[in-house]
Structure formats: C-alpha cells, structure tokens
Point group: C2
C-alpha cells in the first residue's frame, strides 16, 4: 500500500453518493490492496451543505463550491453522481482539462455530450469511465469496449430500464392494467412520482445511445435514437402475447443494417418469445443480450439501479482509474473509428404483430391480405376469430421495413371493412 | 494506424488457432483501428508442419521449433492454444521472462501453475490474459478482476462445462438416461470419445479454481477444488427434481465461508430451483452467476466452447495487450492479496435432498428422524409414499455442513429399516 493516495472528489451525495462514501470507508483496506494505494475522499460537492446525509458522510468534507472543488490541484479523480446536463457538463470538462480523471454515472450527459467529454479526456491523457451509467451494476462497459474488441457485434438487445420492466412483469404475471401496475411500482419505490422519463422510454434511449456507441465504435447521441414508451401497451396485448408464447418487454435495440455500413438504434415495446433468454428477466432486473459474429450470443444480467449496485460499478471504475494512475498509464480510450451512419428507423426491419377489428363478411380477408401484398409485406400467420357480425384478426408478418409496415397500417385504416387497427407491436428476438 | 505492428506468435493451430488466424486476417482493418497498430502473425508453432490447416493458415508461418519461436526477440505476444501442462508451461515462462506478453486459453495450466505464470509476468512487467480459459466467449476475467474490484463477492455459481450441461438438459427434457444422453452428445460433437474430463467434473474444477482466484483475490489451485461428476445422476433423480420444481445442473461453486475468512470451492451436481436464472441455461451454453455485497446478483451467459467463441475471447485479449503495449503500460496484475484459506469441503454448508427406500412399518419415521437429529441436521420437508411393505422417503434438509450430512448418510445405512439410501443431492441457489 506504499503508493500515494488516490484523492477523490465527489459531485453529488444522494443515495448513490452516500453509499459510495460508506463503501470507501468500510472496504478501505481491501480497496487499497487492490489499487496499490489508499483511496481518500477529499471533498464532496453538494447543493445543500446542511442536509442530513447519514452517519457515513463526514460533514466537514461537504462544500457547495463545486467549481472550486473540481479546480483543486490535489484532486486526482472526480466522481460525478449529480445527474443532469448542467452544471455537470461544465464541471467535468473543467476537471478533465485540469488533468483529473472522471468517473460518472450520468447517462443523459454521456448520451448528449459523450464526444466532447471523450475528446477532453484524450487531449489531457486522463481516464473517463462510466460503467454505472448503463444498467447499474452489470459490467457492460468493459465487455463491450475490451472483451469483444476483437469481434464484430451485430446486435444488442437490452432491458435497460427497471421501472418499465417491473410494470410489464406485473401486467404479464397478474393481468394488471398499465395504470394499476404503474401505481404498484410507485408504491414500491420502483417508479418516481413523475414516471415520464421511464415509461416514455427516454431513460432507456440514453442508455441505448451509449450501448450503440460502444458496440459499433461509432458516436451515437440521444437524438439518433427512435423512442417509444410503454404507455400504450394494453392488458389485451399482454394476453395476446401470452397466447402466442411471447412476453412484452421494453427493448433497447442497437443493430447493424443489412449492408453492414449503417446502424439503427431504437427503443420500443416488443413481443419476445418466452424461450429467449431475455424473456425470463423479471421485475426490476436489467439484462443486455449481445449477438456477435464470433462469440455468438452473450447475455449480461443484474440489477440496473439502486444505491448499492450503482455504487459497486462506481467503485470498480475508481479501482481501475487508481491502478492506471499508479502504473503511469490510462485505460482504453474512446473507440469511434468506425463512424457508421445512423439510419432512420424507417429502414429497420423486424416482424410485426397486428390486431384488427374487422367486419365479419365475405371479402374482408381478401381486402386485408391485398393491403399487405400491395406494400410488399409478407404475412407469416393469420388467425380470425368471429364474434357475431364482427371478427378479430391477428396477423404476424415476416420481416419487413418499418416504413412499409407504416404504409400497411395507414392503408388498413382506410379500408371500410377495418373497424380498428387495435394493436401494432414489433416481434423481436428471432 | 501509425503504430509499430504488434507481432504475435501462436502456439497450437487446431480449431481455435486456425479461427484466430482467420479472424486476424478478415478483421485486420478493424483490429488495427481498435489497437492503434496492425496485428501481425509472425509464426505458428505446431507439432506437425505438414498437416492441412485450411486456407486461412499460411503454411510458410508454420514451424515445429516452438522453443525457437518463443525466444524470437521480435515477438511481442505469445498466444498459447496448445493445451496441457507441458511443454506449454515451459514455453510460456520462457516467453514471459523474455518480455513477451502472453494470451492463453489453457485452463489446466492456469489452475495448476497460475501463480508461477503471474509471478513471471509481474517480474518482467508484461501482460498475462486468459479470458478464453473460463467459459469461452463469456467475458468473466474483466468483470471479476476489474468491474467488481470495488465490491465484495460472496459467491460464484457457474455452469462452466457445456458437455455436462447438454447431457443434463437432455435428461431433463427428454427423460433420457445418462448413457443415452452421453451417446447423443458424442454423436453431436458436444462430448469427446473419452468424456472423462467433462463428465467427471475435472474440466469444471480447473475453471472453478480460476474463478475462485479472481473472485476472492486468493490463489486457488486444482487441488483445492472438491470435485464430483455427473455419472451417478439417475433418470429418477431428474424426475424427482422436476417434481420438486427443480432441475439438476453440474455447478462450480466458489463461496466465502460463514466467518468471511475462508473460502470453499467445489464442483458437483446439484438441484437448483427452476426460478433461478441459471436453471434456464440449456444445452451447451455456459453461465456464471455472481453474488456480491453491493452489486447483488449478476449473471453472465454465453457459449462456453467452440472455435469461434474461444477465438473471440483470444482476440479481445490480443486487442487489450496491444493497447497496453502502445500506451507503454500493462493491464491489471494478479490480485491475490487476500490470501484466504481454502477450507475443506466438509465445512461447506448447503441443503440436501435424500431419497430413501425404507420398510413400511411403525417406528421407521421415528428412527430416521432421530438419525438426523442426532447429527444436528434439521429436516425442512419429508414426504413418504407407501408401496406395499416398503416405502419411499423424500427428505430435504435445512442448511447443514457436508460432514454432518455424511454422518447422517452413514448412520442411515446402518439402520435395518433403511433398505437403501438411493439418492443424495445437494440443493443450491436459495
């Protein structure tokens, strides 16, 4: 343990920050042995110095002068756990440009301004680690940027938002409606009072941008991600999925285009066969499923949020930064050499499930089938259930482009025999 | 790509080696961009220079002078894919001592002589990477030695042998006997003509030693691992497990002892609840389930063997070594500071399932129950099925020490009302 201590400043000290401080204390001896030098917290920047943060956080380390904290020349690493774009962006850029390494859990900042942060880290020869930003404690950063560095990733499918996965699990397992399942998630603390960022898919979209960047060696920002949430998922859709041997999940999908020269990144609910490894990921757990040319199928599973899991990821990064400093080097830099084009979602190709309410009379099937054929979308299965003068049609297509399917839906809505296009869901995982 | 090429020598060129050579060729441009310098294969050491190795392997690179190859001063990295202890050990020590980094997939060598190799790497400031040695393409080395470096791992449960998992999956899903399932695995190429190393658990035990060393920062060798194979698993046991909502898996278990100061490493078949994430790992897939104090439960899933998955892991290591060389540094060193005591398997505590054939007469239950109580093993559930003058007893215990359970079994065998202790299986995953 002879090395100079690694001096750490924290920005933000909520649930994750205070757990990081606590673990740095109780595991001090182990961490020092693993790094080769002790880790010292020299300052904690917070908005309200007077707020109670529990017994683990020494009050004399608290400061509301965050700018002064990142400018301190004795700080080796800045750990940012405050979230949001500003002032986090300005503070971290200042830290990097001063020669401090950065560990952050800030997915929104990385998804918007990752390139700028990476460039500052490269220019000043310091580390930028962010394992905690995607899927909490699940190690993804190192597998994607190191273990699979010799392989070609073709697709990443992720369940990266615990709130929505909890809601969809309850809808599947108890038949609850979306609003009842959301209320239950809120009561248990899995969903916030304002659940918009989770249920509309924004949180998952930021993570999808980061995952796509790592998987495809390409800069991807939040604006590149097509995003749909789960507020439109009906109990009936969940029932139909179950009857088809499927389950509905909110998926972050990053995939190479058929020609290999572009990528598509999208977040939306989708049906997944129950035999798929992601289908068994229940409640607030997260998992990321990776398909690559040589390694084949991989899956990484664990807790995606919470104070302790996120703190574990932050500490792993801190140990890595500490080891790098002591060895006089740094970890892997950003790899964005491939610079693949991000294609519009209309070019994404997948299978679709459609539920239609139609009139039960001669010629209906022919009209519906003709609509698919005219748009070059091939039907894989079709089931009709009569209900008096009306009927329900359940259709699953072969792979088709999003834009072709959108034309089918618009055309179906124009048919007088179609009373409603009740559900449209993508079918993934095959 | 301006850097000096990374010059690589391969030892061994079978299924994995020729796939590594092929991928280095077809992905040359991507790999050079990721490393920052091209990767050149400068020599391939093999026993038989004349053997046909397919179109990807340039015959002029082949040499049977392996000692000369590792001594070449222009070789930066030696990739060892020949397997076995000698001459691999001598060759790799020579390479490390000459200042070459090593990438190896040799689990047996690491499980026996890992300490010696790590010491040589440290003494000469070079890298020793071995992601491919455990669970093929599944990234485990980096998650355990880097991502979880700030956490305290309490237990690792792994399905790390594809052959036995295939056999047990067939026994579970088709009701096949062990010998029929083995024959099927052999016909499909999942099992070797001599399946001993797989079915007796030796292969899993070597991987368990490596996993335990990484998880607990302690040197663990093959001799420290208690090992039982699956040849004694009966179709009847599989049926009983299914009736109990369980499945039988060959598990590699590395866990901290109750007092936190020791570890126990064991490989044996065990019942696992079907709700456990490992229970859904089918056929030749591998998965490693990690429990840690802060991160909670994590699982890593993927292909554990095969030319391409193993080659993917080797290439990931090669990229890491190349990046380290270019940055003038090296990756994380061995972390064995904790030096925990490896405890005998008798101290391991788990739950047990026992199947007994007993006489169906008064006093039998009392005698059996008394045997458990006398050895301080507590019964959780007991079910008796009468069959004329005989009866079958199915007993599941609470957690008990292995040595206490062994005394129970010996004492039961001594009771005249017990005709046979038909099955004893550990119950894990709760």
């Amino acid at each position: 343990m002879g090395g100079q201590p690694l001096r750490v400043a924290l920005l933000g000290c909520g649930v994750v920050g205070s757990e990081v401080v606590r673990l740095l204390d109780v595991q001090a001896e182990d961490l020092a042995a693993r790094v080769g030098a002790p880790i010292d917290v020299v300052g904690i920047g917070v908005r309200d110095v007077a707020a109670d943060r529990g017994p683990a956080v020494p009050p004399d380390l608290l400061s509301s002068d965050l700018t002064g904290l990142v400018a301190r020349p004795d700080v080796d690493v800045v750990v940012e756990l405050m979230g949001g774009i500003e002032p986090a962006r300005t503070l971290l850029l200042a830290a990097l440009r001063r020669g401090a390494s950065v560990v952050t859990a800030n997915k929104a900042l990385l998804a918007e301004h990752g390139a700028e942060l990476h460039e500052a880290a490269d220019a000043h020869g310091v580390d930028l680690y962010y394992e905690a930003a995607v899927a909490g404690a699940i190690p993804l950063l190192r597998p994607l940027r190191e273990s699979l560095a010799g392989d070609t990733v073709t697709r990443v499918l992720g369940i990266v938002n615990g709130t929505t996965n909890y809601i969809l699990t309850r809808m599947d397992e108890s038949g609850a409606s979306f609003s009842d399942a959301l209320a239950e998630a809120q009561a248990l603390g899995y969903a916030e009072a304002d659940p918009t960022a989770d249920v509309e898919g924004h949180d998952a979209a930021a993570k999808a941008a980061i995952l796509a960047g790592l998987a495809f060696h390409t800069r991807v920002t939040l604006g590149d991600v097509h995003c749909e949430g789960i507020t439109g998922v009906q109990a009936h859709d969940v029932d139909v999925a179950r009857a088809m041997g499927h389950v509905i999940k909110l998926l972050a999908i990053c995939e190479r285009s058929a020609d290999g020269r572009g990528i598509c990144v999208r977040v939306h609910p989708a049906m997944l066969p129950r035999t798929h490894p992601l289908a068994g990921v229940r409640e607030a757990y997260n998992a990321v499923f990776v398909e690559s040319e040589a390694a084949g199928q991989l899956m990484f599973y664990g807790r995606g949020a919470g104070g302790s899991p996120t703190a574990s990821a932050v500490l792993g990064d801190l140990v890595a930064v500490g080891r790098n400093r002591l060895a006089g080097g740094r970890g892997p830099r950003e790899s964005a050499y491939a610079d693949l084009e991000v294609r519009p979602v209309g070019e994404a190709r997948t299978r679709y499930y459609l539920g239609l309410d139609v009139a039960d009379r001669a010629g209906v099937l022919a009209a519906v089938a003709q609509t698919f054929a005219a748009n070059d979308v091939s039907i894989e299965t079709l089931r009709q259930d009569g209900r008096g003068d009306a009927a329900a049609l359940v259709i699953v297509t072969h792979k088709a482009a999003e834009e072709a399917l959108a034309r089918v839906v618009a055309d179906l809505r124009g048919l007088d025999v179609v009373r409603a296009v009740a559900s449209v869901l993508r079918v993934e995982g095959e």
